[in-house]
């Protein structure tokens, strides 16, 4: 295990992120701002609503925000654009010269980078949460949320790779990062818990993969020990990995044909 190139890529990703503390600090600083904003918003909103909105009190909402925002901020926001650029200018072809799977290798490296940011963000979030309210509402939920956070980042990465693969066929595919981000905002439950959406919209969101990236860990951390959500994440992760691998395999063939 320790000797595979993918593990090397993963640890290299960790090292790379730690070697750029300024960049990391900016990201985590921004996360802190988001926490201030959303904790203020939800405090005011719950006060105005008699303390509880759709089953969420201020304490639940705060931990919800910490998990949802933390998991999203840990992944590179413009990954789709970056991969799209690499495909567009042919840099990806250089990776293809190595005797490893391009997608797996790159995803391992991204995962390494994301893990560092995730740990930093969640630690800061934990301190913030403990200081402004109290511990997460349920221990079981907390225990479930930890693997869910990792799975959320994994799902997010693989989904971005699946989206980005479109760049093999469509020139402007890289611009979809923006729309992807918005889908995560709304259908992924990043801005609002899915329970706060109108029922029809929430129903659609539960059928799509986006909710695995933010809603699932957030729902768990906000005190709802719904273990079956982890199975949903795992299922989607398998589907998404398969989709990304298949899309890149097809795309690489096309690149070889047209790229010469």
């Amino acid at each position: 295990m320790t000797r595979t190139p993918y593990w090397a890529a993963f640890t290299d990703g960790i090292r790379r992120t730690m070697a750029a503390p300024a960049e990391l600090a900016v990201r985590i600083g921004f996360f802190a701002v988001i926490l201030v904003v959303f904790s203020s918003l939800w405090r005011a909103a719950t006060q105005a609503n008699g303390g509880v909105i759709q089953g969420y009190g201020y304490r639940e909402l705060l931990w919800y925000v910490i998990a949802a925002e933390g998991c999203v901020i840990a992944t590179k926001p413009r990954l789709i654009e970056e991969i799209g650029d690499d495909i567009g200018n042919g840099d990806i072809a250089i990776d293809m010269l190595r005797p490893v799977s391009v997608v797996s290798f790159r995803m391992a490296a991204e995962m390494g980078e994301a893990v560092v940011r995730l740990v930093c963000a969640l630690s800061l979030g934990a301190v913030f949460g403990l200081l402004s309210v109290s511990a997460p509402p349920s221990l079981e939920g907390l225990l479930a949320a930890l693997p869910a956070a990792l799975l959320a980042v994994g799902c997010n990465l693989t989904m971005q790779y699946s989206f980005a693969a479109a760049a093999f066929w469509v020139e402007d595919a890289k611009s979809t990062w923006f729309l992807y981000q918005k889908l995560i905002f709304l259908l992924g439950g990043m801005l609002l818990p899915l329970e706060l959406l109108p029922e029809s919209l929430a129903g659609i969101a539960r059928l799509l993969p986006f909710w695995t990236t933010a809603y699932v860990p957030a729902r768990l951390l906000s005190g709802h020990a719904e273990w079956q959500l982890l199975i949903v994440q795992l299922g989607w992760l398998i589907v998404l990995v398969a989709a990304a691998l298949a899309a890149f395999r097809a795309g690489e063939k096309r690149l070889v044909v047209t790229g010469g």
Partner: protein, 256 residues
């Protein structure tokens, strides 16, 4: 002024040369703004009012914010790039011309994507802001003041790069911070944060105060807004001018 307008005209022509990408970027930005509107509509389905802010007021705030962003980040796109430009030694061209370098830099580049905001803001105001002649006039006044505050703030934190070095990361963080803080009603924030929004991260002047003015015109509030606009604009100019003394034109002496 004529010079500034001519420069500006060139920037617009330049942005317009790649029409396909122009429309793509504009529509992406419009989609982005629509998602935010949707967010607020959904939010206020579940929550009636938050400290005096209801749906229509928040939409008015959002209309002002997007207009301000369209002006400061779309039309004057270099406002948030001052840090990067200084660190990369890219002020040279502007310094070689007989006009004020900051004025030239600000109009030198138009960001096509954020121009979408400039369309969106006024349209949202017309649709959701109950426009009357008076409200429209205040909307324009408030947006212009907000833009002056935002540009001044962005230039000031960008110009800090000239003093503290680095490649302008602090400017990027400041830019993201002020925008997200300005996206929410100022009154949801308490104590210390609120004080911050009226002083060092002047998000309140960008969206909150202008919104309040449109709904409820008070001469004192208007005066405060105008003062903030002047203070931050001159702060930006002052810091930039001072920083020029330390400008190193991107000379790479590190590790020399």
């Amino acid at each position: 002024m004529r010079i500034i307008l001519s420069t500006f005209k060139n920037s617009l022509i330049e942005a317009w040369t790649n029409r396909r990408s122009f429309w793509l970027q504009v529509s992406i930005m419009l989609a982005n703004d629509l998602v935010w509107v949707l967010f607020w509509i959904l939010f206020f389905e579940r929550v009636s009012t938050v400290r005096g802010w209801d749906r229509s007021r928040v939409l008015l705030l959002f209309a002002i914010l997007t207009t301000v962003a369209g002006i400061s980040l779309g039309l004057l796109a270099n406002a948030r790039k001052i840090g990067q430009l200084s660190a990369g030694g890219e002020l040279d061209a502007a310094l070689a011309l007989p006009i004020h370098p900051l004025a030239f830099l600000l109009v030198r580049r138009v960001d096509t994507g954020l121009l979408g905001d400039l369309f969106f803001g006024p349209i949202l105001f017309v649709l959701a802001g109950e426009p009357t002649l008076e409200r429209t006039a205040i909307f324009i006044f408030g947006s212009l003041c907000g833009a002056a505050v935002l540009v001044g703030f962005l230039v000031a934190i960008g110009a800090l790069t000239l003093f503290i070095g680095g490649t302008g990361e602090q400017a990027d963080l400041g830019f993201q911070t002020i925008l997200i803080l300005a996206s929410y009603p100022v009154d949801v924030f308490g104590g210390a944060t609120k004080l911050l929004l009226f002083t060092s991260v002047p998000a309140a002047f960008i969206s909150g105060l202008p919104t309040r003015l449109v709904d409820d015109w008070q001469w004192t509030t208007a005066a405060a807004l105008l003062t903030a606009a002047l203070v931050f604009a001159s702060l930006g100019v002052r810091l930039f001018n001072l920083g020029l003394h330390r400008y190193s034109s991107g000379a790479r002496w590190t590790r020399a």
